[in-house]
């Protein structure tokens, strides 16, 4: 909750507006709290700034590279308007969403039970932490040749790559959630006569759920990033394929339009999960 200080409170506390720094890296709590009104405009101002930078970088007047003009905001937005009215764009979007959904589901089914076990069993955590840290630092894209060799061309290697990208944040976040379960809640449940299975169901899993959702959110972010390069390999649909297809047709403004679509969908999914998380766990 943001605290707002009225001028009278600031004065009563012996602070003056003139005394509080208005800008600079090191602001006081009072000056930060007093800036609440401007906060609503900050995201819009950020977007406007990004748009201005994009316009500037692609402008022939700046003269960075003449080819950049085809990626300008005006051309991209014009292409976006055309692209969203095409049936095949929606097919690409649905195919990509399905792939992310399947990849995320596999990561969830593997990551949550493994995270519950690793968070609960100290010896398993010690045994697995080195291997997990090693494997998770390998870019999921590195597995692409092996995935294609083993699983062939099509959806299967993409599901594999997305699952491999998303499983680590889900697993690690779940394990952290288990470690953070308040032991006193478990003691309380035992005093009420709860069995181990009942404690798991009614105390541990709900306590860990918020961490699992955080892991899902992080996993979704990584999977969405990995999706585009994964779809550039031997498939005939999906947003990654759509970018390659537009490039091959020399429809460069369309490339930018699809990049905007990818960004917008990723941002929307993240915002949706954050909203669900904020509503469901607003009190904990």
């Amino acid at each position: 909750m943001k605290m707002r200080l009225s001028p009278s409170i600031i004065l009563r506390a012996g602070l003056s507006r003139a005394g509080a720094p208005r800008s600079g890296l090191f602001r006081t709590a009072v000056s930060r709290a007093g800036e609440g009104k401007g906060a609503a405009w900050a995201p819009l101002a950020g977007l406007a700034l990004a748009l201005a930078a994009w316009t500037l970088l692609t402008s022939p007047a700046v003269g960075l590279n003449p080819i950049l003009e085809v990626f300008s905001p005006a051309r991209a937005l014009e292409a976006l308007n055309r692209v969203v009215q095409q049936q095949r764009t929606w097919t690409h979007i649905l195919v990509s969403l399905r792939r992310v959904g399947v990849g995320l589901a596999i990561a969830f089914l593997a990551g949550v039970p493994a995270g519950l076990l690793i968070g609960r069993l100290r010896w398993l955590e010690r045994a697995s932490s080195g291997a997990i840290q090693f494997v998770r630092m390998i870019s999921p894209i590195s597995w692409m040749p092996i995935a294609v060799m083993v699983l062939g061309i099509g959806d299967a290697p993409i599901y594999f790559l997305l699952a491999v990208s998303a499983v680590w944040p889900i697993l690690l976040s779940t394990a952290e959630g288990v470690r953070r379960v308040d032991r006193r809640w478990i003691e309380m449940a035992r005093s009420l006569g709860a069995s181990s299975a009942e404690i798991l169901r009614h105390v541990v899993i709900p306590a860990v759920a918020s961490h699992v959702v955080t892991g899902l959110r992080l996993g979704l972010g990584v999977a969405w990033i990995v999706l585009v390069p994964a779809e550039m390999l031997g498939v005939r649909a999906g947003l990654g394929y759509a970018i390659l297809d537009a490039r091959d047709r020399l429809a460069y403004p369309e490339v930018m339009a699809i990049i905007l679509v990818i960004g917008f969908i990723g941002w929307s999914m993240d915002a949706l999960i954050r909203r669900i998380q904020a509503q469901r766990w607003r009190v904990s």
Partner: protein, 267 residues
């Protein structure tokens, strides 16, 4: 009702064996409130956890209604120092928690919750979350959760320690009345001597660690009028004399100075 015989508890702290309490013999009789008072670290809470079946004894045994206890018994409720409400559940859902467990699942249990919330004065706060209620309200919700067990005995581990003095006295009186009306036996662990005297029918005084029962006193009888005016009860000569005797015991056993700093109140 609850009999503790020759009970002792050892544990390992930083690689060293420590005895929390030893040679404890104690009885909580049917319908009585037994206060257990002693300095911090004397093993009061460890003893309570052992009786609750949450910690195994190293020596001795605990019997409940004649049968040896080897773990938590659904007929014994526990109210901890902190309310331990689950933050993702409302006050009503927390109070109904026991009904989710097979040990207390019975037809109509969920329906009893509203009645319990009314009894603990929280009927208007059933839909609130723990973060939205005060410490005293949270403790009353924890008590409602315990009462849904229909316990024949309740173990209290300094349940009002985190509350301010005014709210503490209010809840002490409310709790004594409620326990007496229900005929529920209680073991009330506290380091606050005044609280031990207001709550208990008898007061067991423990020595510093390893805690042993030094002496058990009978408290002055508390009639309805005395409970309606606890300040009169606390100022009575009998109350003051008993308090001085317990303070002398604690001084003699080396338990004073570690706690009870607030116990030197003249009548």
């Amino acid at each position: 009702m609850i009999e503790v015989a020759g009970a002792g508890k050892d544990y390992i702290l930083n690689g060293r064996a420590v005895t929390a309490f030893d040679g404890v013999d104690l009885e909580v009789r049917r319908g009585e409130i037994l206060s257990v008072v002693g300095p911090s670290g004397c093993g009061k809470s460890s003893l309570l956890k052992a009786i609750a079946g949450l910690e195994p004894l190293s020596r001795g045994e605990i019997r409940f209604e004649g049968r040896r206890l080897d773990g938590p018994d659904p007929r014994i409720g526990v109210v901890f120092q902190e309310a331990r409400l689950l933050p993702w559940l409302t006050v009503r859902e927390n109070a109904a928690l026991a009904a989710r467990f097979a040990a207390h699942r019975r037809p109509g249990a969920a329906g009893e919750v509203d009645d319990l919330l009314r009894r603990v004065g929280l009927e208007a706060f059933g839909d609130a979350y723990p973060s939205q209620v005060s410490g005293g309200m949270a403790q009353r919700a924890a008590l409602a959760r315990t009462l849904l067990q229909r316990p024949t005995a309740i173990l209290f581990d300094e349940p009002f320690a985190s509350l301010d003095a005014l709210r503490r006295m209010e809840l002490q009186i409310w709790l004594v009345r409620m326990l007496k009306e229900e005929g529920t036996a209680a073991l009330f662990v506290t380091h606050d001597l005044d609280e031990a005297l207001i709550m208990g029918d008898r007061i067991a005084v423990m020595t510093p660690r390893p805690g042993r029962i030094h002496r058990i006193y009978d408290a002055p009888p508390k009639d309805r009028r005395a409970l309606e005016q606890p300040e009169t009860l606390a100022a009575s000569r009998e109350f003051w004399e008993l308090k001085q005797s317990i303070l002398a015991d604690l001084r003699a056993t080396g338990g004073l100075g570690e706690a009870m700093a607030d116990a030197h109140v003249e009548p």
